[in-house]
């Protein structure tokens, strides 16, 4: 593949993310990978539901006392918005507007960073209250499920940061278009998982 081939918005293909065989492979492979990730999170969810509120005798934590919806609401807002901004970025990628794509992805990364910061605050708050990774089956399954999601967010942030800086000087081409596109798929996936966490962990935890 020729990295130096120059495109204009007119010659840029309609589906740049799968315009070459290598790109098509990455595109399909990444969708399949997300299928595997779905199973991974499904297993974590099932375990969480089985171990919810389970602890040693005299264990003093329940989902109702622990979770605080306002904080989780702000986190949800940040992450859902970051998914929207990544959609804008992909829109500009398809119309070959590199600068605007970088800008919207930068905003996506900042929103993601905000989410992660609040999650770190939330976790440290729980630990301060005495709800630690090791004090019950409930806490282990909570931190593992939500923490795995948070870890995915962190990986996504490193990924998009590397992409933004690596390509800043050379613009869009058919080699990195796929990389940008698979990142956006990944980011949406993280968002979908969060919607489930918000519902299954927090809403169901507070309401009943």
């Amino acid at each position: 593949m020729d990295l130096n081939k120059k495109f204009t918005p007119e010659t840029w293909p309609e589906h740049p993310e799968r315009a070459t065989l290598e790109a098509k492979n990455k595109f399909v492979g990444f969708w399949l990978f997300l299928g595997g990730e779905t199973i991974l999170f499904a297993t974590l969810f099932a375990t969480y539901m089985a171990l919810k509120n389970k602890g040693p005798s005299g264990f003093g934590f329940s989902t109702q006392e622990l979770y605080e919806l306002p904080l989780v609401f702000v986190m949800t807002l940040l992450l859902l918005t970051s998914s929207l901004t990544s959609v804008y970025a992909m829109h500009h990628m398809k119309s070959f507007n590199f600068k605007k794509m970088q800008l919207w992805l930068g905003i996506t990364a900042l929103l993601g960073l905000g989410f992660l910061g609040l999650e770190v605050y939330e976790f440290s708050h729980y630990v301060k209250e005495g709800f630690t990774f090791g004090n019950s089956a409930f806490s282990s399954s909570f931190f593992t499920l939500v923490g795995t999601h948070g870890f995915h967010v962190a990986i996504g942030l490193v990924w998009v940061t590397l992409l933004l800086f690596r390509n800043a000087g050379r613009g869009l081409n058919l080699y990195n278009a796929t990389k940008y596109y698979t990142f956006s798929l990944y980011w949406h996936f993280i968002d979908v998982v969060w919607v489930f966490i918000f519902t299954v962990v927090y809403l169901m935890g507070v309401i009943g």
Partner: protein
Amino acid sequence: MSSVAQKRSFGAAFWDWMTTVDHKKIGILYLIGGGFFFVLGGIEAMLIRIQLLQPNNDFVSAGLYNDLITMHGTTMIFLAAMPILFGFMNYIMPLQIGARDVAFPFINSLGFWMFFFGGLFLNISWFLGQVPDAGWTSYASLSIASPGHGIDFYAIGLQIAGGGTLMAGINFLVTIINMRAPGMTYMRMPLFTWTTFVASAMILFAFPPLTVGLFFLTFDRMFGANFFDHTMGGNTIIWEHIFWIFGHPEVYILILPAFGIFSEIFPIFSRKRLFGYPAMVFATVLIGFLGFMVWAHHMFTVGLGPTANAIFAVATMAIAVPTGVKIFNWLLTIWGGSIRVTTPMLYALGFIPSFVMGGVTGVMQGAAPLDYQLHDSYFIVAHFHYVIVGGVVLAILGGLHLYWPKMFGTMLNEALGKITFIFFFVGFHCTFLIQHWLGFWGMPRRVWTYMDGQGWNTANVISSVGALLMAIGVIVLVINIIMTVAKNERIGNDPWGDGRTLEWAIPSPPPFYNFTATPLVRGLDTVWIEKSEGNMTGLTPAEPITDIHMPNGSIIPFLMTFGLFVAGFGAMFHQETSWGLPVLIFGLAWTFVAMAARSLKDDLGFHVTKEQIQRDVDNASKGGRI
């Protein structure tokens, strides 16, 4: 590489294999790695059978016996059977669909190294004297309580190897979806490719639960979590569910490619197309689907209740239907064929009755009430060895003889091959048939010795003698391989004379770019069609010879995996030593730096020019080698 034979230094050749991303070389690496672990698992099996040779034997201690059965099972499933099948998939499947390469050559290499280092990690436990000892299923009630670092080796070693397996699965799936030659529709794909496809899809959905389960185990044992500790609210049944949601599909991940290999052997040596090809494809997919619906039949005696047991019993027995379809289609492929009883065909013929016996005992256990009687007895041991050895291992040995000439350009000795078969086959039935009765007579599995006077003595001697016969068979195979390599008599494209699929139309071994020009596929068994229409090359090109794009080799997969390997030791020792945590962080950082290096440096591969290919073709037509 080129048409000119070059003498290369050992160092250069070694570096070449360390950095290779060629699917054929990675296939051979898988075969070597898997073969090594197969021998290791076999030695463990022999030690088990020596211990059980007579009552009240003290050849090994009870603790060592637990180590042996755990490592035998783990090694054979994760480090021998699956990698060897991956070897065949890697080598043969891209050739069968007319592809130049797999979809992700880099990830393919990463997958191999992760399998290899995961296996190494597991077996280093022997040198530390702290070996996994809770059975290959590592039930949490046992594994949480196991002292020392044995189970830690299990959890981390399998985690690394399992990651490699997932990558291999995705790679095979995308290769089959995207890289088929023109005309190679799904319903023209050879059965081995189809079974690779379905097994890979099963890997994609079965391995993430294992990943999660192993993380739970790691967290519980090394990082203070409480998933399985009931005093802290945990629940060990969760491990059983997660393990078998992975573990049951796993046995189909093993057996489906084995079915695929037999589906290649029968048509070649019966000189008939595979009977009922569409039904075979449908049965493969159906088995793949049902494989996920039956995990709780491993848990009938857990106490899930009669409703759950009944549902899983029915689902389990349903699998017998597509499997039966396959058996009858193989029989009808042989029926009326012009049969040549070569070594691969012997394995295929031996497979049918052996596997049917294993399948029938499986249906017996599918009946939940009977399973209460048979549970944890030697009947179970007999059943799964009939399926895994009578199915998978016979396929591996048959496939090895069938594809050896394609892989190495030289033919394994047929007489020695038949001797191997006879020893192995007789030894296999001798070992495991009697174990069905041992189970009926009440001998429990996983117990290191038994008392005299229970009527089990003679049967155990028979079983141990059978194991010895199998070992002799494997030794003959090793001799055969050494002799073949030493003699190195070169053979042509189609050494069996009746090859039907694309891999038999190209040189043995194939050039690194596989096909000089992408072939045009004109039907099922396309090479057979070409040959029967008089085209003795067996190939119709779909395009003129053009420049071929190939990937560069890379050492990064090796480096990435090495980081994980180091991090594993850090995780294991972080609680009792001061260096544990720094090593864990260093190892993970090493891996991340390697990943970043991979993503920051563009690696666009290189082109083989059409002049070079044309020279290779001309040279081959003059009798030279590509």
